[in-house]
Symmetry: D2
Subunit: 163 residues, 4 copies
């Protein structure tokens, strides 16, 4: 069972530019992270964009939806900035049936050494292998259905909308 | 849904003694690892032993089995050395029905900075929330049924016995 | 021989705010860095300010000069942002005679795990113990006299003005 | 002023073998460490041996002495296990005059992520550029003359013999 991984950027892949002190995107670290985790899950990684999710436009979301629709795999992980992850999950749920899609991200860039990204990717890969068809967010060791989740920006964590 | 985590030691929790250059056990790093992963999964962590799994005896395995039987939770993660993880899984499967038990471990100590432990714990926590009752090993981003897994010691990875 | 360490901020001590994705200052990590280096050099650490050196004003520089003048110690290390480190060195050299003052900094925040800060602090502490009275910059494993150094902002390294 | 760096192994360069859980030597990490420290000091690195200093024999020490004698450079850093660093310093001092030789090491392997090695190498490179001819040990942010130093094995630090 091969799993598709679509990379869209987000904190996960941000790096520190030591010449000007700003954060920026270069290449994805997904392969490196999976190697560090000694993952032997068959995956096919494709970078769709490398952007901060606050800058994600409808056309970008449509791009993600189309790629998920056209993917041969029916189990898909998407790395994504946390700020608008819920919006993208909603856009995906509207168009896609019969596939298990799990969005995940990080609060700390992987390159900063003490990132939650490695933990989140481990849980996202596990959830995508075991959950039934649907669109989910995997953060904080938990999974959430696309229609019952929001980011609590004060705490930096994901919570259910209705309890 | 609270998850029980039983700590038994293994590479996961080994540390480097800078006075004599040997590896040893002090306290578990589970709480620190979960905090790094920003986990919000309700867990109850209990250390049963802190040993290398090559030194695990029948009485130790029986101790683990009894603790799983008596635990109020029916979803349990066990951190364990990789060398005899399969034997413990077999001992558990013989005695316990109706609970989801996931064993996981690490090839590199968490304290060494580039450990697979954070990734493995993320996946183990996800698998224990989603898999049906049974005994499983979660390593390399995958899960294995207790009766269909062995450690390939040359490669340092877990594989199915029968394909 | 006790050494004074004055902390002024700079990249050295920047942290990543996981709630808004911005870099900011909280407390200095000097004690933690010295502990990681197993330093047994007697030091007295005092934080004068926690600012980006691009925001350093004349009054801030005067504050640093006055503190160096009044310090009981005649060997002083100053952690400082790299962008205006040379200006502060010049301000110090104009007013202070008979003390060995070494400014150092980092291109990568210490908290980001792969920082040059630990290396630079090791070299700055060594230079301050061995160089004669004067004002110096310690970066890139080297030391520079205050009147013969500039930061090459394209390369992110310090070089002599005249060769 | 080019500096010679002779690598002899020691904790500095030890790695963790994830297949059998033992520590071992592969290649030196000196180039990587200097790159992390953004060092621009001209150096020439040569690996003489990769051994635990407890296993160092008279013939190994003689090898180090001969290489220091024959080196074109008169400023030399030697990375070395801490347990017998003092013996090697004594062997060097007996034979070599007119060169500045600084031995350094680490208590924690560089690969374990929280090593003192980066700090020690920064200080050793600084000391070798500034100290007069002689044989020294650079550890704990300090330097010691070869004839006035011992390792306190209970504390894992270097101290003067006579105060």
């Amino acid at each position: 069972m091969k799993i598709k991984i679509f990379v869209t950027g987000g904190t996960f892949d941000k790096e520190y530019n030591e010449l000007n002190g700003e954060l920026f995107f270069k290449d994805t670290h997904l392969t490196e992270i999976l190697s560090l985790g000694r993952s032997r899950v068959p995956v096919d990684i494709r970078t769709l964009m490398m952007i901060d999710s606050l800058n994600m436009k409808d056309s970008d979301r449509n791009n993600i939806v189309q790629n998920c629709l056209q993917a041969a795999e029916d189990r898909i992980v998407i790395t994504h900035g946390t700020d608008t992850m819920v919006e993208t999950a909603q856009a995906l749920a509207k168009e896609i049936k019969g596939k298990t899609i799990v969005l995940t991200g990080a609060l700390i860039p992987y390159k900063f050494g003490s990132s939650d990204g490695l933990f989140n990717l481990g849980s996202a890969l596990a959830f995508v292998q075991t959950l039934p068809a649907g669109v989910y967010i995997a953060m904080n060791g938990r999974y959430f259905n696309w229609d019952n989740v929001r980011k609590n920006k004060e705490l930096g964590e994901f919570v259910e909308v209705k309890v």
